[in-house]
Amino acid sequence: MTVEVTTVYPAAAIYTMDPSQPTASAVAVKGDRFWALGSLDEMRSITNCEIDNTFADKILLPGFVEAHSHGMASGLWLHTYCGFFDRSDPDGKKWPGCKNIGDVIERLRVADNAIQDPNEPLLAWGLDPIYFSGERLVGSHLDLVSLTRPIFVLHASAHLATVNSALMRSEGIDASTPMEGIPKDDEGNPVGELQEPAAMSLAGSAFRSFFGRMKAQDTKWALGRLANKAGITTLTDLGNPSSTSQTTIDEWREVVDHRDFPARVFIFDSPAMSQTTAANLLATREKSSEKLRLGAVKVVLDGSIQGYTARLRSPGYLNDRPNGIWVFPPEQLTELLRPFHEDGLLIHVHCNGDEAVDVFLETVETLLSESPKSDHRYTIQHCQLTSPEQYERIADLKMCVNLFSNHTWYWGDQHISSTVGPERASRMNSARTALDAGVPVSMHCDAPVTPLGSLHVAWTAINRKTASGSVLGADERISVEEALHAITLGAAYQLKMDTEIGSITPGKFADLAVLEEDPYKIDPNELRDVSIWGTMSGGKIFPAENT
């Protein structure tokens, strides 16, 4: 009988997140699991072991776990990136941010030249005019790129698009178009902005092609490459209304279960959209594999703070702006969740505003009093404006929070000046308060809303810097240790996968983030710049190959 080889990986440092053995200098891997942990000498005593020095000068952490991302994070890269911040595509190519309208035009000109077919629309994404100090991209700007090729630029909010004259001409969008959400100039002609989905859909074939192409199987492979470059070994597709369809499952399994795919993917259903029953979701959960996880619930209760659609408690938005919207009726949340609660399914609810948090807390109180569950792990997703008193209730109910820490960097300045003002902006994503209340914390990027990258998320929670360089809510900063825990074991806990991933513990899946620098030994202000060598997923090594 042959004994399976155990591979021993010595490393410059290993941080395990396992309290009984927080550090080690070598880790042994057998098959797809961690086998043992300790010094290299201790590991040499393992029967039939081989030493592999690939990581001899690297720093090993548990593979990062992104508990709030979306499958479409990679598909957008089929189109031209026009966002304000630098961003890397799935092949590792770095796209500098477009800092003004001139940059956007230049970026699109290059893309225009690269398309052979003169009729093929030029599709772009990520435009965020909030950073362009009041100047608005309009159709005449895009006409400087092409007068003949239709151009469609989706804004970062995904609620609007800017198009050029050629597109409006070919789709018949003109002065007589009666729809609201199509701003017109003094002569009554549309300026090229299409607001909200109904208006965006008038972009016809460009609109269909933008979203249609993103469904290709290749985009799933690209998602794996994005994760790999970020040190992420488990990520989520949080809210997929077709997660119970056999076709969807087959398409995901074909990619994720492939030994060359570098990550685990957990797909949550959206029963408010899909009408999936608890029985159906339980049956779907049984179709999970070691790498593809299914059978959990995501509900969206309100909108976003930067879009002024999150539901806020008094005093609400600045300048007496009206309160946000309910995406799902608050009075029906208990009824919607009850069957999933009864069957013990994992439930995460999107609540950006503090009023939405109240509704979720009341709902969980009701459900738990009807039918107590000892280990429910109800998680508040985003949870951005939550007050200390609400954190006490969250702790009492044994709920978890997954904070949208990246907001501090990407929109912190706008939250101070435009949405909620400095006092409440300081308490946004208050990880310190949450941890002090004893609430299990994770943090996320919500890719594609912000780039897939756990170290950036951790860096924001540690430093709380805004894009303009000021520190927002200094008292809510947390330690490097706490932040790294949140993006590994903290996130695994909320996915109910903490017995399998999240720490370097013998018996768990051998999932690693492999770093070039030691996050505990650098200036915490530089954590986001730590180079990621690659990952290990289920014992298989995946170097991040950058182009």
């Binding site: 018949g172 009666p178 729809m179 909200e196 008038l202 077709s242 009206p322 309910w326 608050p330 009075e331």
Partner: protein, 297 residues
């Protein structure tokens, strides 16, 4: 060739306002043609099993020619599918979710191949004022009411006359739209009266008046007429022959304050309009208003 244009009506209102009841009654009303009903999910409408001809993914076909479509693939895709079978459909009705924004959804009615007919918002008369003060959903309810072209009061049978009147009074503060007491015939929602056959609304005391015009009408006259709409007018529907548009007869639709005009698809319809007004409106004033159209400039 002019493509068929489907009238598009939005039905909104908070949870429990009676949207489902209304839609089920529309589905069983044989006088309003073949409907495509667009809903968030089929569970809400609870269709009588015996009416279902086939169930194909996102579409349920009924034996009476109506179809129900769910929004699983989103609005753009669903409307493309309905447009593909527009020869078999006479009208589209969209049910907005209980917290949805009817005015936003109404914009889909301007999609090519469709024509926005109006936004009907249902109100549970017995609870609306109390719920409008609810800290969670009060603003949602009020913004839905403000977005209406026509408000339909449900559950009036549970209330005394003075209670209904106080709700009607309150609604006037919240919305410029006309409020009608339900239940009403579907034709009231869509203004589908056959010209010349005034229905009897005696049980509801709504006022209906029809006027046939002997000669073609100037666009300028329509402008003046529209601006002089007396309070109480709920719906206007019909066909006019307009001097500036000699090639086709023009179909006229007015739902609340919204006037829509489009080339008629009927063969030589009558040059006539029917107007419907709230109970208590003097019929003479309605006729007088319609007559403004035939006055020389």
């Amino acid at each position: 060739m002019s493509e068929k244009v489907l009238p598009f009506t939005v039905i909104g209102g908070y949870l429990g306002a009676g949207k489902t009841t209304l839609i089920n009654s529309l589905l069983s009303d044989s006088t309003i043609g073949r409907l495509a009903i667009v809903v968030n999910d089929f569970g809400e409408i609870n269709i009588d099993e015996s009416l279902i001809l086939s169930h194909d993914g996102d579409t349920i076909s009924l034996t009476n020619g109506c179809i129900c479509c769910s929004l699983t693939d989103g609005f753009a895709e669903t409307l493309t599918q309905i447009r593909g079978r527009s020869n078999d459909i006479d009208r589209v009705i969209v049910e907005v979710s209980g917290v949805g924004e009817p005015r936003k959804i109404a914009q889909w009615g301007h999609t090519p191949g469709y024509s926005l007919d109006g936004v009907v918002v249902l109100v549970d008369t017995s609870t609306v004022i109390e719920r409008s003060k609810d800290s969670y959903v009060g603003e949602t309810i009020c913004s839905q009411i403000a977005a209406a072209d026509l408000i339909l009061l449900s559950r009036c049978d549970l209330l005394e006359e003075d209670e209904i009147r106080s709700v009607e009074h309150w609604l006037k503060e919240e919305s410029s739209a006309m409020a009608l007491r339900g239940p009403i015939s579907a034709s009231m929602l869509f203004g589908l009266e056959e010209i010349g056959t005034e229905k009897n609304f005696s049980s509801l005391d709504h006022v209906s008046a029809t006027l046939e015009f002997p000669a073609s009408i100037d666009l300028a006259a329509i402008d003046i007429w529209e601006k002089s709409r007396p309070s109480g007018i709920v719906r206007v529907k019909g066909f006019l022959s307009i001097n500036e548009r000699p090639e086709n007869s023009t179909e006229i639709q007015m739902c609340g304050p919204n006037l829509t005009m489009r080339a008629s698809q009927s063969d030589s319809p009558k040059n006539a309009l029917v107007a419907i007004a709230t109970p208590g409106t003097p019929k003479a004033s309605v006729i007088k208003w319609l007559n403004l159209l035939s006055l020389p400039n």
